[in-house]
Amino acid sequence: MTDRLLPAGFAELEPFAGTWCLATETERYARRMASSMEEMRTFYDAFFPRLEEAVAHCDTFPLDALPEDARRLLQLVYSLVMVSMSIEIFHQPKAVDAADAEIERVREPVP
């Protein structure tokens, strides 16, 4: 028995799993807004070099039959996409010149 959340080959990302394995865009966007740039930079720097491997790992299973740990890894990839907007482009959590504008994702594909 282990309490790991992610596939075995991604052990160094376990510290981020509790925070960033989130099922919906609404949760991921809210977490991004509530995070500091330092927190997101740490996550991005740790995960970005392994992103390609993470997607490849998920692709060893059918998309509609992902094991739990791979499903969480895919959620972590979605979170990295979310965080990359702040890290690569805006250098702040929110889009530049967007102030208090909000757009809600009401429905999305699962997973």
Partner: protein, 421 residues
């Protein structure tokens, strides 16, 4: 100095002389009186898209649509014969809203065998027939035949469900859409069933938000900070020109040439785009869709970017060269507010890599939308000051000019027909 060819008249705008070239007033976007006229003159006369057939997967599937500008709620349902029907969402007994969940103003969807009113339990079939009246014997000469749900005119084109709130629509849906739009017939909308659905409450008139998405002159400036500095600088220096604009009755389109993202220098792209092979324009490795309908890419651009079909009054179908499409709907809620809906549709991902590419496109779409939304609220506020009343529109803004003209024409036409009585 334009780089792309223009019509013989010298500009797209002059190609359609009825538009004129004078500065345009936006009084139609800041006037509560004009908004009151739009209710009847536009939203109770035009065909309105309320969704797609995939939202009604089986017999008994339904959804409601709040059309607040017309003070109306509509329930759309897949009936027993597999057809799509729409009804005014009103119980015939005491006028309660028939289909809703917890909050009367919120839309809902689901599946049922019949509709049951929450108030006194009257029940209606999927064909709208009144099937059951609680304590029927207490009523006086009540014939259930006479108290079915009131139908709303409802027609489907290319899987898009449209309703018309008029007692008798002036045109069939097909005639209303006209040749430019129906030339999209045959596009595989029905294959693109993976859907990302966004909503936003926007503090701006619905037409101002349509304007924001029907010209791309703004893109290199407003969205400069969405791309690496080198790309933004190049984009601002070259500016934006579309190779093709077209008007057909109340509808309009803009077609653009494409950028081949993966042929750009890598410092023109975001690192995440390189791994996901996706971005604002969608996945770089799109699905194979076969032959495209004649209405698509009307200028024959190569590389082609997108076609944005602006369907009067409040519906946009934007088809990307990468094999996916977006729809926008703008539902007015007052003269200076509206609800925005954006849907992204993809051929369903076959694996995680494709799904991640879709996620990248969807997340990027929202970042741009946030900037547009914020700017539009600023525009609304400053227009309402009426410090300036007329605004110059350039040739790349021809579709904005056309939208405001059509709105004025429809309101004028309505006023004429209602004062002669």
């Amino acid at each position: 100095m334009s780089r792309l060819p223009k019509p013989p008249e010298g500009s797209w705008t002059e190609h359609y002389p009825e538009l004129g070239t004078a500065p345009v007033s936006y009084e139609d976007s800041i006037s509560p009186e004009f908004y009151e006229l739009e209710r009847e003159a536009i939203f109770r006369r035009a065909w309105l898209n309320v969704g797609r057939v995939e939202q009604l997967p089986r017999k008994g599937s339904y959804f409601t649509k709040e059309v607040r500008v017309a003070r109306t709620s509509v329930v759309v349902v897949r009936d027993g014969g597999g057809g799509v029907r729409a009804f005014f969402n009103v119980c015939r007994h005491r006028g309660n809203k028939l289909v809703w969940d917890e909050f009367p103003g919120e839309e809902t969807s689901g599946f049922c065998r019949q509709f049951t009113c929450k108030y006194h339990g009257w029940r209606y079939g999927l064909d709208g027939a009144l099937n059951f009246v609680q304590q029927e014997g207490e009523f006086f000469d009540l014939d259930k035949e006479d108290f079915g749900l009131v139908p709303v005119h409802c027609e489907v084109w290319a899987g898009f469900i449209f309703v018309n709130l008029a007692r008798e629509p002036e045109q069939s849906l097909h005639d209303f859409l006209g040749p430019m739009v129906t030339a999209l017939d045959g596009y595989p909308f029905d294959k693109m069933t993976e859907r990302f659905y966004y909503r936003a409450e926007v503090g701006a008139n619905w037409k101002l938000y349509m304007d924001a998405f029907q010209e791309f002159y703004h893109a290199p400036v407003l969205h400069a900070k969405q791309t690496p500095a080198k790309f933004s600088t190049a984009a601002q220096q070259s500016g934006f020109e579309a190779p093709h604009y077209q008007l057909d009755g109340p509808h309009r389109l803009v077609s653009t040439s494409g950028i081949v993202a993966w042929e750009l220098a890598s410092d023109m792209r975001k690192p995440m785009e390189d791994i996901t092979r996706s971005g604002l324009f969608g996945p770089w490795d799109g699905p194979e869709l076969g032959e495209m309908p004649p209405g698509l890419n009307p200028a024959g651009c190569d590389p082609w970017g997108l076609d944005s079909f602006q369907l009067w009054p409040n519906f946009v179908i934007l088809i990307w060269s990468g094999g996916w499409y977006l729809t926008y709907q703008y539902w007015p809620t007052s003269y200076n507010t509206h609800t925005f809906e954006g849907n992204l549709y993809f051929v369903p991902a076959r694996n995680a890599r494709e799904r991640v590419a879709h996620e990248m496109a969807a997340v990027t779409f929202k970042e741009y939308g946030l900037q547009d939304g914020n700017t539009l609220e600023a525009t609304q506020m400053s227009l309402e000051s009426r410090a300036v009343t007329h605004f110059p529109l350039n040739d790349q803004e021809i579709l904005c000019r056309h939208l405001h003209k059509v709105a004025a024409d429809w309101v004028e036409d309505y006023k004429k027909n209602h004062t002669e009585v």
